[in-house]
């Protein structure tokens, strides 16, 4: 037991990494492969829950890989990282369960499981690593495995393989460019600071800023990081890949992409803007705020006109990530103005927003998979009256639509309320006003989608709905996520408290630095 507890953070990366070859080796017996995978997926979920409770009770865990101290790779589990890992393991596990009846057997039994595990390992690694170059490596692991997963086939042949390949090409080209830019930024940072450890970089940049001796090119390096993470999170000028890629991916992968992978960008911005480049917040804050406003407006207006259900949800993701970034921008500006408390409040609210959006949007994408399975098309105009055919999907979609639209008693209401309240307290009247207008847009397009799909009658010219009943493996993950969204709306205190603590740790990274730097070499 103590062996497990001592090495807890590395297990969350090592186990899925090890599972990738194991699932390849058991390719011959698909039943065994599925059982192993689901047991390990559930085990990972338990381990991540154990990790976050340990971090909550005993503070930040820093774990050396190798014995080179801060010059080697350090794995750090602070509350932000551990919380994101829990989110990833939860959505990843439910997506895996969902995949069994959704993905075509031929794809599923070949490489799907090992790629899925590689993706989980990459994402966990990004959230847990304390080393900026190591983060790049995990980025690439995540990128390649997710790109290969996007091309895998569903049972329902709604999306053409050629569409998928074209979208994957777009995704890959943009993300390879992003990876190259990140490499340039990391190298420039290393050449001027002399360290790759994030805690070390934070400390050194702070000391340099206090001495007034920051080299000017560090501002450019920070902007490069914002471009990289903004590209991952689909921030305004780099958002155009998302509405092509998320709809063409199979639904469980769309849920992972929209639920977790675009949150990696938000996570990176939190680490870069609020920890490493904290003294430059006055410069970056307005940039992020402006881009966030454009992003949320653009996403919401584009989502209104969509007829493809998954494309609408994808544009909605663009819009919602804009709200998260709006919180980041406001917090950076408040922090730069010296109001650390207000900044903590806003940042906590945007972390709540991030968690709620991850759960609600992955649930909606899983639901859209069920809808497509029943209707055998992605066009919402060719649907209608599905509430009698797939009532569970109707309930889940309504819960998701209410949460994204910000209707009480769902989790989305709490997050929007907290964000706007915290923003108004710090007198960001203009940005909050714009965000409120587009919140009305959000409400409109989500309910338009729900009414088009579930109300009315289906036009007979589009044929009958599929007579297959949805399998319990498709319905169960959707309902579990819907229940979580509802619970987070009715009893949000634990999540709000967790998010405020996370925000405290980010605004004042001293505990993080202490945990990483002041340690005895084993």
């Amino acid at each position: 037991m103590s062996f497990l507890m001592d090495n807890l953070p590395i297990f969350l990366i090592a186990i899925p990494l090890l599972m990738a070859p194991i699932t390849i080796l058991t390719k011959g017996s698909p039943g065994l492969q599925k059982v192993i995978d689901i047991v390990v997926g559930f085990g990972l979920l338990c381990l991540s829950a154990l990790l976050i409770t340990t971090v909550w009770k005993h503070g930040i865990i820093a774990y050396d890989v190798g014995e080179f101290g801060k010059y080697g790779i350090v794995i750090v589990a602070d509350l932000l990282g551990a919380g994101m890992v829990v989110l990833n393991c939860l959505i990843g596990f439910l997506g895996l369960v969902y995949s069994y009846d959704y993905i075509e057997d031929k794809s599923l039994n070949q490489t799907y499981h090992s790629l899925y595990n590689l993706m989980l390992a990459g994402i966990n690694g990004i959230f847990l690593t304390g080393d900026i170059f190591n983060m790049f490596v995990f980025f690439e692991i995540m990128l390649l495995s997710s790109a290969a997963l996007i091309v895998s086939n569903e049972n329902s042949k709604v999306t053409k393989i050629s569409d998928k390949m074209e979208a994957t090409m777009k995704y890959l080209v943009l993300n390879i460019l992003g990876g190259n830019v990140m490499l340039i930024a990391v190298t420039s940072l290393y050449a001027s600071i002399g360290s790759l450890n994030m805690a070390d970089i934070t400390l050194k940049i702070r000391v340099l800023a206090e001495a007034g001796a920051v080299p000017w090119h560090l501002y450019a390096v920070g902007l490069l990081f914002i471009i990289v993470f903004g590209g991952k999170a689909a921030m305004f000028p780099l958002h155009y890949w998302l509405p092509d890629v998320h709809p063409t991916a199979p639904s469980p992968i769309s849920a992972m992409l929209s639920g977790v992978i675009i949150k990696i960008g938000a996570y990176g911005i939190l680490r870069v803007l609020f920890m490493m480049f904290a003294p430059f917040q006055a410069v970056y804050g307005p940039v992020i705020l402006f881009m966030a406003l454009v992003t949320l407006g653009l996403g919401a207006t584009s989502a209104i006109g969509q007829t493809d259900v998954k494309r609408m949800l994808a544009y909605s993701s663009v819009s919602q990530i804009g709200y998260v970034f709006l919180g980041f921008g406001m917090a950076a500006m408040a922090n730069a103005a010296g109001e650390a408390e207000a900044a903590t409040l806003i940042l906590g609210a945007s972390v709540v927003y991030l968690i709620n959006h991850a759960l609600a949007k992955s649930m909606l994408f899983l639901t859209s998979g069920g809808i497509i399975h029943t209707a055998e098309t992605r066009d919402m105009r060719q649907m209608g009256g599905m509430v009698s055919k797939a009532p569970m999907m109707g309930v889940a979609f309504l819960v998701g639509a209410m949460s994204i639209g910000g209707v009480p008693p769902m989790g989305g209401f709490i997050s929007k309320f907290l964000l706007f309240d915290a923003g108004l307290r710090s007198q960001f009247y203009m940005p909050i006003g714009i965000a409120l207008i587009f919140a009305v847009f959000t409400l409109f397009y989500m309910f338009r989608g729900w009414m088009l799909i579930f109300w009315g009658e289906r036009d007979p010219q589009y044929g009958e709905y599929s007579h297959h009943k949805l399998s319990p493996l498709i319905v169960a993950p959707v309902l579990i996520l819907a229940a979580i969204v509802l619970i987070l709306g009715l009893y949000p205190e634990p999540v709000v408290q967790l998010s405020q603590t996370i925000a405290n740790q980010i605004i004042d990274p001293q505990p993080y630095i202490d945990a990483v730097m002041v340690r005895v070499i084993r």
Binding site: M169, L172, L183
Partner: protein, 141 residues
């Protein structure tokens, strides 16, 4: 003078890579990415050359003890302006070993992504019969 030629090479490679990435042919885009990644590899290796010799990350045992305390990892001397590790005596004979490790990792990752993109490009060619980016967009729906 050597540095100047290194910088010129990196800049030229970046330029050629960017030019290729902006072409319409998908193969040329992929080759462009290859060239850009080589430019970045050169850039990383170039970052390991020091002029003042204060940035060699080799942990020497005695100096770790002389630092802020025995066994502590944190032993930079910020007051003296030593941002990396440890040695103050100028070493001009060798370069930073860490960047070499970084560049190896970057090369391997570049290989994997290039292989994947090439396979994808081949499949797109099979599916559409063309790898012209603009024609692909017209074919779409």
């Amino acid at each position: 003078m050597n540095n100047f030629f290194l910088e010129l090479t990196i800049a030229l490679l970046f330029g050629i890579g960017t030019f290729l990435v902006l072409r319409r042919d998908m193969m040329k885009i992929i080759i462009g990415f290859g060239i850009i990644s080589h430019a970045i590899n050169l850039y990383i290796v170039g970052g390991g050359v020091f002029s003042d010799g204060t940035l060699v990350p080799i942990l020497e045992h005695e100096q770790a003890i002389e630092g802020l305390g025995q066994g502590l990892i944190y032993n930079d001397n910020l007051a003296a302006g030593i941002l990396g590790p440890i040695t103050t005596t100028p070493y001009t004979e060798f370069v930073d070993p860490l960047v070499q490790a970084l560049v190896l990792t970057a090369i391997v990752i570049g290989l994997a992504t290039t292989a994947f993109v090439l396979t994808l490009c081949y499949r797109i060619n099979e599916e559409y019969g063309t790898i012209d980016v603009q024609e692909l967009r017209r074919l779409r729906e």
